[in-house]
Amino acid sequence: MSDGPTTPPSAFAGKLRRLDAVWFYRALFLVAFLGTWQLASGPLLDPFWVSSPSAIGATLVKWTRSGALQYHLLVTFKETATGFVFGAAFGILAAFVIGSSDILRRTVDPFLTAVYGVPKVALAPLFIMWFGIGLAPKIVLAAVSVFFLVLFSTIGGIAQADRKMVDALRIMGAGRFTVHRRVTFPSALPWVFSGLKLGLPYGFVGAVAAEMMASNAGIGFLTQNAAGQLDTAGVFAALFALMVVTAALNEGLGRLEHRIFRWR
């Protein structure tokens, strides 16, 4: 009888080998890229404009020794993380409120889309006017950037919830809350996650952009300050540090996602 469990074929070892190869190629690509840059800087390109990996490395070491890098990174990280948490929480919450009623969703949709279309960075001057030049405007800008991405993604996810699954639950006697908890939320969760993953870098964009306009701390300030001194290596070093943090956080989100969706 064909009524047996379907066990996926275990190709774990082969997968691991492929993964190793991919990591090897990645390292190769990185070395080739940095090597070319290093060699081209000087004979081919003016180091004043393009700097070089070694100069950037030296700046990073200098800043790390003095503690400046950690300080500025932490400021940006705090702004982004706070904004991210607020933006994501409100985004998910708003999506469930809006997504629970078809009429409401269709009513607010054009307005949300209109606001979403505004580049969030353009709101920075407004937030600086409202909230001063401290952490607040950066947090708000990061939050707003994350909010819309998570909101749209989650609303999309809620709309994808299987109607038949909802009906099955209602016939079993489930109320609205149980339907949300057991069907709507879990089926929207992959979309929530893609919203979060998309939102994270935009959160940094928001925070850094606001820093560049008015602040005395953070990665945005650091790049702006280095550029003001015509220190190309400094600009690259600040951007590099930001890149590492963003990549690490994204990787963390990816792992969390993998843990949550083990059923797939």
């Binding site: 009524d3 047996g4 379907t6 009906d167 057991r182 059923w263």
Partner: protein
């Protein structure tokens, strides 16, 4: 007509013995292409404890009839009553086993089957115990912690059946539940269904396009006509119970039932709809 199965249940006074009742039900669906009328002046009585099979050409209102019983659709005219009162919203007095796989992929088999008990506020320990027994009953013992995507099609059907039976609804609606399964597996699951249903006295309304399946399982088979559907043939099945699913087709009378049902469906297929 000789009916050796009639001793199994004793039907009381007509009204009280009705599980589901359609009175002059009309159902019109509106779509972009225009309106189409699925049911017109449709009357149907399903007795308590009866196993009723509904067959008919595709596009006749078989699934619509079940959705009306489940309260997922509302009649355009007329009334549908369940257990003596008209259905107004989603009917949670029934269990509905759909063709569509509605197991939640993010929950284990155990948690899926426990959902109806969770809705009823049954404590966790009792829930676990009842789920364990029910899974053993449907032949899924040992698969408690599997996720639906780790199960075969037949096993998922079993899990859905377990989830429907566990809260003990007095009425079961089944929409081609074994439709896409292979022939042998279908017979195995039919036998399991018979075994699980026999002692319970539950009313079953079973939609299928398989006449053999209908005769094998049901006390009564109705044939629906093309849209707008009406009952074309109402055939009481004179095969005794308990039935062996793989023996039923050799029972005396099976052939006559088959011929009558088949010709009713065939003629229905050739008929022009108004």
């Amino acid at each position: 007509m000789e009916n050796p199965g009639s001793t199994r249940r004793d039907f009381g006074p007509a009204r009280a013995a009705l599980d589901i009742e359609f009175r002059k039900v009309g159902k019109v669906f509106a779509s972009r292409k225009g309106q189409f009328e699925v049911l017109r002046d449709f009357d149907l009585e399903v007795r308590k404890g009866e196993f009723l099979a509904i067959v008919g050409p595709s596009g006749s209102g078989k699934s619509t009839v079940l959705n009306l019983m489940a309260g997922l659709d509302t009649p355009t005219s007329g009334t549908v009553a369940c257990h003596g009162h008209p259905i107004t919203g989603v009917n949670s007095e029934i269990g509905y086993l759909t063709q569509h796989d509605s197991l939640m992929p993010w929950l284990t088999v155990e948690d899926n089957v426990a959902v109806p008990l969770e809705i009823r506020g049954i404590p966790k320990a009792e829930r676990r115990e009842r789920v364990r027994r029910m899974l053993a009953d449907v032949g899924l013992g040992g698969f408690e912690h599997h996720h639906p995507n780790q199960l075969s099609g037949g096993m998922r059907k079993r899990a859905m059946l377990a989830r429907t039976l566990i809260y003990d609804p007095p009425t079961l609606l089944m929409d081609e539940p074994f439709g896409p399964l292979d022939a042998q597996l279908k017979v195995v699951l039919q036998a399991d269904l018979m075994r699980l249903w026999n002692a319970t006295g539950k009313t079953v309304v079973f939609v299928t396009h398989d006449i053999v399946e209908a005769i094998t399982l049901a006390d009564r088979v109705i044939v629906l006509s093309h849209r707008p559907s009406r009952i074309k043939l109402d055939e009481a099945i004179a095969i005794g119970r308990p039935r062996e699913v793989h023996e039923a087709r050799f029972a005396p009378g099976f052939e006559d039932h088959y011929r009558r049902l088949w010709s009713a469906i065939e003629i229905g297929g050739a008929e022009k709809t108004p």
